[in-house]
C-alpha cells in the first residue's frame, strides 16, 4: 500500500500544483517541494527494513485486467528502495534548481516534473511488465514537455529527438514483452505479465536472444550506451536545469535498473552469451564518449558526454554479473546521480548568470566566484574518480568485478580513468582557472552561489563523501537483492551448464 501512496502523492501533488497556479504562480513550487519531501520521508521508513521470506520489503498485488493476466503488482526490495530514495532526493534538488529559473507556466512545469518522478518511482517498483511499460511511458511524456516548453534555443529538435529515440526503442521492448507473454501462454496455457511467472518461461535460445535484445536496446538507449547515446547531448544541452538534473540523475538509472531487474534475470542464458558484446559496448562508451567530451565547447554537452562515459562503467559492471561488479554498478549509479546532477546544476547556474554555455567565452572565474568554483572543483574531482568520494567506490568495484569476467575489456575500460582526468581538469582550466575574462559576455549577474544553492550543493557533497568514506550503508541495502539475483540466475545457468 505504501508504494501506491508514494506514487499517488506525486500524481496528485502534480495536479494540485497545476491547479494552484491560478491562485499564485509561486504556489506550485511550494506544493511540488512539499510532495517530494513527504515522499522522501515516507521512503526513509523503508530503508533497511527486513525483506522477509518473499524477498520484498513491501508488495502489493491487485487484479487489474485478469483476462490478460495483467495485475497491478508493485513491490520494492533493497535495490528499489535505494533507487527511490535517490529519485526523491534529486527530485527535491531539481525543484530547488528550478525555484528561480522557471518563471513561466510554473503550474504545468511542476505538474510535469512530479509526473516524471511518479513514473520513475513506478518503474523502480512495478513487477508486472505491462504496468512497468505503462510507467516507462509515463516518465517519458512529461519529460518531453519539460524540454520542449522550458528548454533553450534548439528545444524542439532536442525534445523530438529524445522522444523518438525513447519511443522507438520502447516499442521494441513492448514487442518483447508481448512475445514473452505469448510464450508463457504457449507453455502454461494462460496469459501473465507477472515478473515472477515470466521468470519461468522456457524458449529456444534463438528466440530468447531476440526477445532479450528488445529489452537490451530499450534499456541501453535510456542508459545510454554507445551507439544509442546521441539523443542525450542534445536533450541535456537544451533542457532546463531541473530537466537535466532529473535526466542525468534519475532517468538514465532506469535503464540500468531495467537491465539488472529484467533483461538479465529473465534471460540469463541469452544475456551471458551476449555479455561480451555488451561489455564491449560499455568499453566503447567509456573511451569514445570521454574523447568526444573532451572536444566539446558547450559545457552542458561536455557533461552529457561524460555521463555516457560514466554509465559505461555501470553497463560493464552489470554484464560482468558478479557481486563486486553489481555492487559497483549500483554505487556508480548513485554516485553519478549526485555528481552529474550537481555538475548540470553548476552549468545551468552559469548559463543563468552569463547567458552562455560556450566555454571558449569563459575563464578565470575562480577569482570572481570562489565558492561556485570550489564546488565545481569538488564535483569534477568526484567525477574523475577520486578515492574518498562515491564515484571511486563504484567504478573501482565495477572494474574489480569485471576483471574476473574479462581481463582485456577491463584493462581497456581502466583507461577511462585517465581520460576522465583529462576532460575534468580541462573544464576546470577553461572555466575557472586562467585569467579572468569577461569581454564576451555581460558579467553583471555573475555572482557567487546563493545560500539556497549552497544548501543543495552541500547536501550533495555530504552524500558523495558519505558514499566514499562509508559506502557500507548503501552496499548493505542492495546486498540482499544482488545475492538473490545472482543466486537465481546462477541456478538457471548451472542447469544449462554455463
Amino acid at each position: 500500500m505504501i508504494l501506491v501512496v508514494l506514487i499517488s502523492i506525486l500524481f496528485f501533488g502534480g495536479v494540485l500544483a497545476w491547479l494552484s497556479e491560478g491562485l499564485d504562480s509561486k504556489y506550485p513550487r511550494v506544493i511540488a517541494l512539499t510532495a517530494v519531501v513527504i515522499d522522501l520521508l515516507v521512503m526513509l521508513t523503508l530503508v533497511g527494513a527486513d525483506a522477509g521470506d518473499s524477498g520484498w520489503i513491501v508488495q502489493l498485488n491487485a487484479q487489474w485486467m485478469p483476462r490478460f493476466g495483467i495485475s497491478f503488482y508493485l513491490a520494492a526490495d533493497g535495490l528499489s528502495v535505494l533507487m527511490m530514495v535517490l529519485t526523491a532526493f534529486l527530485g527535491a534538488v531539481a525543484i530547488g534548481s528550478a525555484w528561480d529559473e522557471i518563471t513561466e507556466k510554473t503550474g504545468f512545469f511542476y505538474f510535469n516534473l512530479l509526473w516524471t518522478l511518479a513514473g520513475v518511482i513506478g518503474v523502480f517498483t512495478a513487477l508486472d511488465l505491462f504496468l512497468f511499460f505503462f510507467f516507462w511511458e509515463v516518465m517519458l511524456i512529461p519529460m518531453y514537455f519539460i524540454i520542449a516548453i522550458w528548454g533553450h534555443e534548439n528545444k524542439n529538435y532536442a525534445a523530438m529527438k529524445f522522444f523518438i529515440f525513447t519511443q522507438v526503442t520502447g516499442m521494441l521492448m513492448l514487442i518483447s514483452i508481448l512475445a514473452l507473454t505469448y510464450f508463457h501462454y504457449l507453455q502454461f496455457g494462460w496469459f501473465s505479465f507477472d515478473y515472477v511467472d515470466l521468470l519461468k518461461v522456457n524458449t529456444s535460445s534463438a528466440i530468447e536472444m531476440w526477445i532479450m535484445l528488445g529489452f537490451f536496446v530499450s534499456f541501453s538507449t535510456k542508459l545510454p550506451s554507445f551507439p544509442f547515446h546521441s539523443w542525450l547531448p542534445d536533450a541535456h544541452s537544451q533542457a532546463p536545469t531541473a530537466g537535466s538534473v532529473i535526466l542525468a540523475g534519475v532517468l538514465l538509472k532506469t535503464g540500468a535498473y531495467g537491465l539488472i531487474r529484467f533483461a538479465i534475470p529473465l534471460f540469463p542464458e541469452a544475456s551471458m552469451t551476449f555479455a561480451p558484446f555488451a561489455m564491449t559496448l560499455a568499453v566503447i562508451s567509456i573511451l569514445y564518449c570521454a574523447k568526444v567530451a573532451f572536444a566539446q565547447t558547450d559545457i552542458k554537452r561536455l557533461i552529457a558526454y561524460t555521463s555516457v562515459s560514466h554509465m559505461g562503467f555501470v553497463l560493464l559492471g552489470i554484464y560482468a554479473w558478479s557481486e563486486q561488479a553489481l555492487q559497483g554498478a549500483v554505487m556508480t549509479m548513485l554516485a553519478h546521480g549526485l555528481s552529474a546532477a550537481a555538475l548540470f546544476m553548476l552549468a545551468g547556474g552559469l548559463q543563468h548568470r552569463i547567458h552562455t554555455r560556450d566555454m571558449d567565452h569563459m575563464g578565470g572565474f575562480w577569482a570572481k566566484v570562489p565558492r561556485l568554483s570550489f564546488v565545481a572543483l569538488f564535483f569534477s574531482v568526484a567525477a574523475l574518480g577520486m578515492p574518498g568520494l562515491g564515484n571511486f567506490v563504484g567504478e573501482f568495484l565495477a572494474l574489480l568485478g569485471a576483471f574476473k569476467a574479462n581481463i582485456g575489456l577491463t584493462v581497456a575500460a581502466a583507461f577511462g580513468l585517465i581520460f576522465a582526468s583529462v576532460y575534468s581538469l580541462w573544464v576546470i582550466q577553461k572555466v575557472f582557472h586562467g585569467a579572468y575574462r569577461n569581454s564576451d559576455f555581460d558579467d553583471s549577474n555573475l555572482h557567487d552561489l546563493s545560500r539556497r544553492e549552497m544548501f543543495y550543493f552541500c547536501a550533495m557533497m555530504i552524500g558523495l563523501i558519505w558514499m566514499g568514506m562509508y559506502p557500507q550503508s548503501f552496499l548493505d541495502l542492495s546486498a540482499e537483492t544482488i545475492a538473490q539475483l545472482l543466486n537465481e540466475t546462477g541456478q538457471v545457468l548451472f542447469a544449462v551448464g554455463l
Binding site: F226, P227, H229, S230, P233, K291, V292, F294, A295, Q296, Y305, E323, Q324, Q327, G364, W366, A367, P370, R371, F374, V381, G385, M386, P387, G388, F392, V393, F396, L397, L399, L400, F403, K404, T410, V411, A414, F415, L417, I418, S421, V422, L425, W426, Q429, F432, H433, G434, A435, Y436, M469, Y470, P471, Q472, L475, A479
Partner: protein, 616 residues
Amino acid sequence: MQDLIWLLPTFPLLGFLSLVLTSGNLPKKAVAVIGAGSIGLSFITAALIALEFLGSGETHFILEVWTWMAVGELTPGFSFYLDGLSLVMMLVITGVGFLIHLYSTGFMLDDPSYSRFFSYMNLFVASMLMLVLADNLVLLYLGWEGVGLCSYLLIGFWYEKPENGYAARKAFVTTRVGDTSMAIGLFLLFAQLGTLNIQDMLHAAETEWAVGSGLAVAASLLLLGGAVGKSAQLPLQTWLPDAMAGPTPISALIHAATMVTAGVYLIARTHVLFELAPSVQLLVAWIGLITLLMAGFTAMTQHDIKRILAYSTVSQIGYMFLGLGVGAWSASVFHLMTHAFFKALLFLAAGTVIHSLHHEHDIFKMGGKRKQLPIAFASFMIGSLALAAFPFTSGYFSKDEILIAALEMEGPGMLLWMGGVLGAFLTGIYSFRLVFVVFFGQSKGHHEEREVTGFSMATPLIILMVLALFGGWIQIPVDAVFSHGEVHEEHHISGFLHVVMIAVPLLGIGLAYLFYMSKTFSVEKLMAKPIAAALHRFWFSGWGMDALYDLLFVKPFLFLARINKKDFIDAIYASLVEISRVVHGMLARTQTGQLRWYTMSIAAGVVLLIAVGVLL
C-alpha cells in the same frame, strides 16, 4: 599511545576542513597557526608513537578504525599498519613537513590566497600519511590519489597563468597513467590472491607463486608502472621539471621530500612481490640507473635554479630505484630519508634566493650572492655537499650503501656500479655549478636586495642543515621489515673501489670549479663545438622526451578529438532523418492531384499485377 595513530592524518585533515569551511575569512595569523600547528601536532604524536613502538620491541602494530567497504572477499578498511618502514616515512613526512609548513608561514605571507595554500598543504600531508600508514592497497591507493590531487592543486596554485595550469594537468595526467597501471595491478592481485591487505597478500603470493612465475612478473610490473609515475622515473619522468611552476615550498615538500618518493615506498613495501619476479627487480635497477644518468646530464644544462634541483631530484630517486633493484631495500629507504633532508634544504634555500631576488630564477642572472644571502649560501653549501655525497655528510652514507650493494650483486652489478659512480660524478658537477654561479664570482643585478628571512624561514633552514650534515648517523629501524632476503652487511669491497667512490664526486666538484669558478676551462669555447652544442640542446630539452610524447600521444589525441567533435554516430542518425525526409518528398510528389497521372498509375499497376499473375 599507539592506539592514537589515527590522529596522525586526522590533525591535518581537520586543519584542511577548518581552513576550507572558513574560506579565507580568517586572519593570516590564525591560518598560520592552524596550518602549521596541525602538522606540528602530528609530528609530536608521531614522535611519541615512535618512541613507544621502538621501546616495545614489536615488529608491527595494526589499528583498525572502520571497515571501508565489505563486498564478498573484498574487505579493505581504514586500518593503519605501523612497522619500521612506515615509522621512518611518517617521521619524515611530519617532521620535514612541519619544517616546510613553518617556512611557508613566512614565505607565503604576501600571497592573497594564504588560506587556500595551507588548506591544500594540510590535505596533502593527511593523504601522504594515509599512503604510508595504510594496511591495505585500497587505502594506500586513496592516499596515492589524494597526494596526486594536492600536487595538481598546488602546482597550479597560481592559476591565473595558463602555463601553470598546463604544468599541473600534465603532472596529474602523467601520474594518472601510472596510477591506472597500479589500479589494474590491484585488480590482478585481488583476482589471483583474493585479498588486498598488504601483509596477507604478500604472504599469499609467497606461498602460491613460484619465483619468476608469470603472475608475479605481471603484478610487479603493474605496480612498478604506478611507482615510476609517482616517482618521476623513466618513462613517466617528464612531469616533474614542469611541476616547479608551483610555489617553492611545494616543490620542497611534494616534489622532493615526500610525494615523489611514494613509488620507492610502494616498491619497498611490496618488495616480496619483486623478489618473486627477479626480472622485474632487475628492470627497476636499470630504470633507476638510466633515469639517474639522463637526469644528471640534463641538470648540468639547465639555467632555472628550480629546474636544476628538479632534475637532481629525478636523478636521486633514480639512485633509490637502483638500490631497490639490487635488493638494497633499507639503503634505498635510508637514501629516501637523507634525500628528504638535503633536498628540502636546497629547495627552501632556493626559495629564499628567489624570494630575495624578486622571483629571479635564472642562475646566470645571479652571482656573488654569498655575502648578500648568507643563510641561503650556507644552506646551499651544506645541501650540495650532501647531495654530492661529500664524505661524512648524510648523502655520503646512503649513496655509499646503495653503490656497494650494486657492486656486490651478481651479473650486471659491476655495470650498475659504474653507472652509479658516473652519476655521482655528474652530481658533483651540476650541484657545484649551481653553487659557484649563484654565490661566487661577480655580483650581477639585484645589488641592493637583502635576504628575506626571519624566524619562521630561518629556523627550518638551520634545522635542515644540521640534519643534512649529520642525518647519516641515524639508524633506521627497518631491519625487521626486510629481514629476509636482503643482501646483508659485511661489506668486503676492495679499498681501491672505495677510494674511487669517494674521489669521483670530488672530481666532479673540481671540474665544476675549473669551469665556473677559476674559469680555467671555458664553457663558451666548449659550446662553440657543434657536437657539444647539439648535445647541450638535446640534454637541455630533457632528451627530447616531451616532444616525443607530444608527437606520440598528445597530438593524435587532440587530432582525433578535433575531427570528431560532432560525433559521427549522430551523423548516422541524422542521415536516417535525411533519408526519410527525401523519401517523404519523393512520395509526396506523386500526390499531384492530376487525374491523368492517377489514371495512368492505376493502369500501370493493373498491367503489372496481370504480368505477375501470368508469369507465376
